[in-house]
């Protein structure tokens, strides 16, 4: 009896519209929602959704995805169109370029600008995935001084340098999450100093073996003293970088070091981590449930048949079950 919603969605829009037009002229269709229907419903007048107070309609719309509001909900009727211009609807913007309804980066940028405009400076949280440009970042920065949460996924090439300048406009930023995008140590420091309230920082990359580099970790340690949560998935920091972080970020409660293969948690350092960090993810902890590709680039010289020594592995295991 019920048609799965997904199937309806996947039909080409034009076909669907034609079907609807054909049926609407003859009789009112029964409510197609999958719910117990009262027998008197077809005779009753349409429920006055459009008479809902604007703040309630806005409250409903803000729960939809950004693309959904712009492409569908706001086009339903003038009441919803009006409500979709309420700044409260746009306190959270979430735009991803891997939705089923694929969009070009240009379309997404355009939508993002509209959403930022409509937020009228009230934007609190924004997530951008797989698109973006320096211009867009500047556009957001110039209009969103209240921003608390910023997340970029695979926004290659746009962040380095540009982000350091942009975050100067986000003095209240509490969370910054960067996945698969390059950002150098100096800019990490600028970000840290520009956002004194930063509590959560993510700099996740692809796991890498055969290369050591502590500058990013040292920059975090030097500039982000208020951090509570830090994720450095796939970072090439060593024990030295980790020690600096533990020292520089005394309030740290959770630390994700998965795929950080230069870290060897032994004796003192292991004890130190245990004392300070409540939720520690070890370099070789499971990546099950990680939302992105957890493949490893391995440039390390072969050591016997194993890419890591048995001792290390044993220590990890021991720590995990301690």
């Amino acid at each position: 009896m019920l048609r799965p919603k997904r199937r309806i969605q996947k039909e080409p829009r034009g076909v669907k519209q034609k079907k609807l037009k054909a049926s609407s002229s003859s009789s009112l269709p029964p409510p197609s929602s999958s719910l117990p229907s009262s027998p008197s419903l077809p005779l009753s007048p349409p429920p006055p959704w459009v008479e809902l107070p604007l703040d309630i309609t806005a409250n409903i719309l803000q729960r939809l995805r950004t693309i959904e509001i712009l492409e569908n909900a706001q086009r339903v009727c003038t009441a919803w169109w009006k409500a979709s211009h309420d700044p409260t609807v746009w306190r959270v913007i979430d735009l991803r370029n891997h939705d089923v309804d694929a969009k070009t980066p240009r379309m997404l940028e355009n939508m993002c600008r509209i959403a930022v405009d409509r937020s009228q400076g009230q934007l609190l949280k924004i997530n951008i995935e797989n698109f973006g440009s320096r211009d867009l970042l500047n556009y957001i920065a110039e209009r969103s001084s209240q921003l608390r949460y910023l997340r970029f996924v695979k926004c290659y090439y746009i962040l380095d340098g540009c982000l350091a300048a942009a975050v100067k406009n986000f003095p209240l930023l509490e969370e910054l999450h960067i996945y698969f995008s390059d950002i150098n140590k100096d800019h990490i420091e600028v970000i840290g100093h520009s956002c004194p309230q930063l509590k959560s920082f993510t700099l996740n990359a692809r796991g890498f073996r055969g290369y050591q580099y502590d500058d990013e970790a040292l920059a975090v340690a030097r500039s982000m003293p208020e951090l509570r949560h830090l994720s450095l998935f796939g970072n090439v920091l060593t024990n030295e970088g980790l020690r600096a972080i533990l020292h520089g970020c005394p309030h740290l409660q959770s630390l994700d070091l998965r795929h950080c293969y230069n870290i060897k948690l032994k004796r003192d350092l292991r004890r130190r981590c245990r004392q300070q960090i409540v939720h520690l993810k070890h370099p070789r902890d499971s990546t099950y449930g990680y939302e992105f590709d957890a493949q490893i680039c391995d440039y390390s010289p072969p050591v016997g048949d194993f890419p890591w020594s048995f001792d290390d592995h044993f220590n990890e295991f021991e720590l995990e079950w301690w």
């Binding site: 969605q9 519209q17 719910l35 349409p46 309630i56 729960r63 959904e68 339903v76 969009k103 379309m107």
Partner: protein, 163 residues
């Protein structure tokens, strides 16, 4: 007028739109900011709510009772109850939302708004209009105006016309 009491529990009467009366413990209605103020400041024992249908009031009282019984151990049961609570025809969901907004039961209002949003999710404009029984009231000028605002966003529509 003083509230009537049974033992230590104060009893309150709510009158629905069709004059049906609901007698319940006063502590239950304190979840509603509107009723709380009436009870505390005006010390009433009977509150007429002519704008709320009895059927809707029954649902809301049912929710208030369940919510008052919520403990950490029956959280799961309450979640299932909530799911069933909004599993009603849209017309009824609208009535509940409007009433809850009027009564200022904030937690339930958020929940109702989410339930309505869930009915809009993943649906085209036409599908939403059909399900919510909303007629488009855009003038052709308005239609073209908002198409202008996001021209790229509607490329898909233009493509469809050629199918």
């Amino acid at each position: 007028m003083a509230s009537s009491t049974t033992g230590e529990k104060k009893i309150l009467t709510l009158k629905g739109g069709d004059n049906e009366e609901f007698i319940l413990e006063e502590s239950l209605v304190l979840q509603s900011e509107l009723l709380k103020n009436m009870v505390k400041e005006e010390r009433v024992s009977s509150i007429p709510l002519p704008s709320i249908k009895s059927k809707t009031l029954v649902k809301i009282i049912e929710y208030l009772k369940k919510h008052a019984e919520l403990t950490p151990s029956n959280k799961e049961e309450f979640k299932n109850f909530e799911k069933e609570f909004v599993n009603v025809v849209l017309e009824e969901l609208l009535d509940i939302t409007v009433a809850v907004n009027y009564l200022k039961i904030n937690g339930l209002l958020e929940f109702c708004c989410q339930a309505v949003a869930d009915r809009i999710k993943d649906k085209s404009v036409e599908a939403v209009r059909k399900i919510f029984r909303i007629e488009s009231d855009f003038t052709p000028e308005e239609e073209s105006e908002f198409r202008k605002e996001t021209p790229e966003a509607f490329e898909g529509d233009l493509d469809d016309t050629t199918n």
